[in-house]
């Protein structure tokens, strides 16, 4: 006797505590097994690209902040590098160092949220509080630098809005010292937690071939086993002066490219970022941070694709200039936008509960997916 079964469509989001914002997933289920996932995005489409066409080049910077609002420094960094290349400006060494320090601090803050909310999504609420405690310290470092906690408008075309606060280097050193032991604590609490490993290891395995074909970048690609990091492979700013490792997924708890690997690569990246910050603050040169800011920003006709390694992957800006004071077109290659496409591939054949574990490990920011 055969039992008549039928597929069921389950709607998840846009208001769901674990979709990291306003993502809507349409799940097709066979019992509790997932057959198909269709992500619906656009609930936070804020018309970034249209804004770029009507405002001037420096005015775009605050809008870039609001795309990936967890890594605002990284967004500014990528945009500013592109415009500087178009203009042909060489910025002072001190500016480059400060930019790198800020971008790496931001990477730590962003990964802390990724880790904390990932834990909270699959049931471990305590690490979330630990992560936010440490993140607040980074935010206070940003605050003494430029006055803002979340969206900075700090990195300007050709320079920075302010120089470092006199106490910044001392406070950063104190933070690094303190944070190292906190990280150990976090690892014991979450990373090697048996329940956490059971929920994430061997879930949502992403083979390298598929990852490359889907254009996956950032920690997700590295978790699948490829040493690919734009900071080293297409180096920009002064990253070539620092010594750091590129952590890759090794399948320690399961298979290479599973959710645990994607999580763990982020933890290791935090340590590498700490290394970079340490080297940078020890060798930061003196200089004026506003000397190279041009009075008139009017790039020549042409186009450029500039990209940086953001916490979520490759953030690219395709900027077309028509010779006027505002860009003709800016297209953003947002890492979360591209990474989110893989959801269907990763979730198929898993249980409904695993969707949360997989989505958390993809680590999306909806502001960037929808722009």
């Amino acid at each position: 006797m055969s039992i008549r079964t039928e597929e069921m469509v389950l709607n998840m989001g846009p208001q769901h505590p674990s979709t990291h914002g306003v993502l809507r997933l349409e799940l097709t289920l066979d019992g509790e097994i997932i057959i198909k996932v269709v992500p619906h995005i656009g609930y936070l489409h804020r018309c970034f690209e249209k804004h770029c066409e009507v405002i001037t080049y420096p005015q775009v910077i605050p809008y870039t902040d609001r795309m990936d609002y967890l890594a605002a420094m990284g967004n500014e960094f990528g945009y500013v590098i592109g415009v500087e290349k178009l203009l042909g400006i060489q910025v002072p060494e001190r500016v480059e160092y400060i930019r790198v320090i800020m971008a790496e601090l931001q990477r730590i803050a962003s990964h802390l949220i990724a880790i904390g909310t990932y834990g909270a999504d699959i049931g471990a609420v305590t690490p979330f509080l630990y992560c936010f405690r440490d993140r607040e310290k980074i935010l206070s470092l940003f605050e003494i630098t430029c006055g803002a906690r979340l969206l900075y408008n700090y990195i300007w075309i050709g320079g920075l809005s302010h120089d470092l606060h006199p106490d910044f280097i001392r406070l950063t050193k104190e933070f690094i010292k303190e944070f190292k032991s906190n990280l150990r604590e976090l690892n014991n609490l979450l990373t090697y937690n048996r329940i956490f490993i059971d929920r994430t290891a061997n879930v949502g395995i992403l083979p390298l071939e598929t990852a490359i074909n889907f254009g996956i970048t950032g920690p997700m690609l590295r978790a699948s086993g490829l040493k690919w990091d734009l900071r080293r492979d297409d180096t920009y700013s002064v990253y070539n002066k620092f010594d750091f490792d590129i952590p890759v997924g090794e399948g320690k708890m399961g298979t290479v490219g599973d959710s645990w690997d994607r999580y763990y690569v982020r933890v290791l990246e935090i340590e590498e970022s700490l290394k970079i910050i340490k080297q940078a603050i020890n060798s930061i040169p003196d200089g004026d941070v506003t000397s190279a800011i041009p009075k008139k920003i009017k790039p020549p006709v042409g186009h450029i694709y500039s990209r940086v390694e953001n916490p979520r992957g490759e953030l690219g800006y395709f900027i077309i200039s028509d010779g006027s004071t505002s860009p003709f077109r800016v297209k953003v290659r947002a890492p979360s936008f591209v990474n989110l496409q893989i959801m269907d591939e990763l979730c198929r054949g898993h249980l409904v509960a695993d969707v949360i574990a997989i989505l958390g490990s993809v680590d999306i920011v909806l502001g960037e997916v929808d722009r």
Binding site: C47, I212, F318
Partner: protein, 176 residues
């Protein structure tokens, strides 16, 4: 790792029947101009040719070139007719670390380009976005729907340079 000229030469020798324009004098980024109905074939070749191996599509961006002829109507309002739209493809080979930029130009009144989703899956959402915001149709795309704007949005494609925003959407006033 191959330079732009070497890659352009390989494409030119293998696709002698297709017209390919090489723009290498442009400042910053040289590119190849390819006709809209051959782009999928060339992309497949670029991916599979062992010496090139462009295994990843980094970015796909559509642009409204805004180069039509200006026409004045009776009220004195200027409108643009004709013109072109272009799509830029940034390709990269992770294996060999070389990059190339392709450009496809299509008619603005009837924008129509062959899809490259069969070559790189990452093109899927990029092309949907280009369709949503510019109205470019990608032939053979598996799922060409709006992606960012609401599915029932019937007021056109907002990133076109001559787009006019409506007053109301589902009873909500849009302008400030």
């Amino acid at each position: 790792m191959k330079s732009f000229e070497e890659i352009a030469e390989i494409i030119r020798t293998n696709f002698s029947d297709i017209q390919i324009e090489i723009k290498s004098v442009v400042k910053f980024e040289p590119f190849l101009v390819i006709s809209s109905d051959k782009i999928d074939k060339i992309c497949l070749y670029l991916r599979d040719y062992p010496e090139l191996c462009f295994d990843s599509l980094v970015n796909l961006s559509a642009v409204d070139d805004f180069n039509g002829t200006k026409v004045k109507d009776e009220q004195g309002n200027e409108t643009m007719t004709g013109g072109t739209m272009s799509v830029y493809y940034h390709l990269e080979s992770i294996k060999f670390r070389h990059k190339i930029l392709l450009k496809v130009i299509t008619d603005k009144d009837n924008p129509n380009i062959n899809s490259v989703v069969s070559v790189w899956n990452s093109a899927n959402w990029h092309e949907r976005e280009a369709f949503d915001l510019f109205g470019i149709t990608f032939n053979n795309h598996p799922d060409l729907r709006r992606i960012l704007m609401p599915y029932d949005w019937e007021f056109g494609h907002p990133l076109k340079k001559d787009y006019q925003n409506p007053e109301f959407y589902q009873g909500m006033k849009i302008p400030y």
